[in-house]
Amino acid sequence: MRVPAAGEPRDVRVHSLIREIATLWAFAIREYRIWQSYRVNQVMWMVNIFVTTLLFFLMGQMVKGKAAHLMGAAYGTNYMSFIVVGIAMNVFLFTNLADPYTRIARSYFNGTMDLMLLSPMSIYTPLLGFMTKSMLDDYPRLFFVGGFGMLLFGAAFRFQYTLPALGFTVLVLSSAFGIGMISASSFYLLNIKRGTEPVRFLVQQLLATLLAGSYYPVTVLPRPLQWVACLIPHTYAFDALRRLMDPGAHLGGAVLPLQQILPWPPLAVDGAVLGLMTLILIPVGLLLYARGIEKARRNGTLTRWQ
């Protein structure tokens, strides 16, 4: 969003904000219309969700007895509930973390970045607008994952802490978006235009997948790796959401290394770290992105088709 200048009258600032939101809405409609126009895509979207979800559930079924034993008291005893949180949050986080880079790459290779930067909107609005496509694609998966888990595989949840769970979700999505923007800025700042983007690979595909506790608790890892897991927001989100939503889980009882050394309740540690990460990562991500755009403006590399 464009940050209104300090001297601007309040009604101008509000008008600017409304305009930016209206633009995002226009993007959402546009992306939905495009999504809708590819009918095969819709069918494949359903099949893809079903197959990937089923795969994780079947693997979960294989190991659930042993896994339940390893989960420890903090996360309850239902491994299916444990894994539903892992899969669902990964879908959310993957969108926020991986999508900014993908969208910039699309805009660059399609030659639309010039056009977007000619709009009087903020330089961030088109990026967020393009991301609505992924939100349309990915966010509904949450309901499918939850639905499959509860109806077919015996996952269960408690809902008395829904509000705090939503708060943790917002925090982790925000901090993941900050990392996503850092990843996106590498497109122009480091000229990483094809192949594997290192920030995204390191955080999402390596640390989050292996260490954050998506499919097994962090406690099964060697101690040094547990500390490495503490470096990314996913770990705290999984911990908090499982404590809040899984039946039989406990709000107390430290699991993560940081929870063990800080004299606060585990959820307070999770919340503080996620809040801190959000406060740091989002400004850093936005700043680096703006610098990347400025560098591209200097070097003439905003878009592939000059």
Partner: protein
């Protein structure tokens, strides 16, 4: 409306040198430093390119101004600098009263349309949806975007086809959709990069009329970039000629060809002619020869000759000295296109 002073632009390349243990890098590449050797991790665009050199230009409000030059002369770079999409390496200037170091503010005052590349057309959406979305992206209300979209589509002759998806439109029609986008915003400055490339004669004339009449009538300043001077000669108030990143000359079309009063252009088609055997006569200043493929063995000639009564005869004699016969001969005064394509550029730049 637009003031440019000493504008230069160098696109950085990537260079690597090891001076002792110090690694010097330049350009958008990622390097890993090692005391023994340097490893380049990403591709680099090669050597730096000097795209513009000391361009100084003033364009008045309401003018239709052409930027002409052959491929690679720096036209698009210049117009992107005016649009705020590129930062000049040196020089200063202002667009619609906004200094060039404020690209965010410039973009509220310019519409820029390039017909090269995709420029943001979404193929799954209709022509109308593409244009209207751009209006919304530019901060228009839904109602205003709808009204302006209809007007713009009417201006480019696409009302009949407005509900067709872009994928169903021909190339020329897609190009007109892109042009319609430029008509939407009513910004003080409109920048059009090669707006008539690929259009059939009817729609080319329609676009040229739009540029000549409709946009100036709305009080908009129009900058048109093209390498085909014939099309622009009739619609621009003034034009600038670029070559090799330098501004050769700026002025009205008549001024641009002035100084060529002593020159005529001779266009010929010959059949079965070989290389001329005679020495080139002093009346002939420049020769362009194109062999046309086909069984007739035709050769096309374009000669710049001195404006003297004996020049035509001397030139003909020289061309036919290699054998063959003349099929067609025409003599005319030099045009702007002759200047742009380089045959007479040397004379103009003197």
């Amino acid at each position: 409306m637009i003031r440019l002073s000493g504008i230069g632009k160098t696109f950085p390349g990537a260079e690597l040198s090891l001076r002792g243990t110090k690694l010097v890098t330049q350009g958008p590449a990622l390097w890993v430093r090692n005391l023994a050797r340097a490893v380049r991790l990403t591709a680099s665009p090669g050597a730096p390119v000097r795209a513009l050199e000391d361009v100084t230009l003033n364009i008045a409000a309401g003018e239709v101004f052409g930027i002409l030059g052959p491929n690679g002369s720096g036209k698009t770079t210049l117009v992107k600098i005016m649009a705020g999409l590129l930062r000049p390496t040196e020089g200063a200037g202002a667009v619609a009263g906004v200094e060039m170091n404020h690209p965010q503010a410039i973009r509220r005052r310019v519409s820029y349309v390039s017909t090269t590349g995709w420029m943001g057309l979404e193929w799954a959406l209709t022509a109308e949806e593409n244009i209207r979305f751009f209006g919304l992206l530019s901060g228009m209300s839904g109602a205003l975007a709808k009204t302006r979209t209809d007007e713009a589509l009417r201006d480019v002759g696409l009302m009949q086809d407005r509900h067709k998806a872009v994928s169903e439109l021909s190339n020329g029609m897609r190009q007109r959709v892109i042009l319609a986008r430029a008509l939407l915003l009513r910004t003080p400055v409109v920048l059009l990069d090669e707006p008539t490339v690929g259009l059939d004669p009817i729609h080319r004339d329609q676009v040229l009329a739009l540029v000549r009449e409709t946009l100036p009538a709305r009080g908009q300043t129009v900058i048109v970039v093209d390498h085909q001077a014939d099309a622009l000669e009739t619609i621009v108030d003034r034009a600038a000629i670029l070559a090799g990143g330098r501004l050769l000359r700026a002025g009205t079309p008549a001024e641009l060809v002035s100084g060529l009063e002593g020159v005529r252009v001779l266009e010929m088609v010959t059949r079965g002619s070989g290389e001329p055997r005679a020495a080139i006569p002093p009346q002939v200043q420049e020769v362009e020869r194109i062999e046309r493929p086909g069984p007739l063995g035709l050769t096309q000639w374009r000669l710049t000759v001195a404006d003297r009564s004996d020049a035509l005869e001397a030139a003909l004699h020289w061309v036919l000295s290699g054998g063959g016969q003349a099929v067609q001969v025409a003599e005319r005064a030099p045009r702007l296109a002759d200047v742009v394509t380089g045959r007479l550029r040397r004379e103009v730049s003197r």
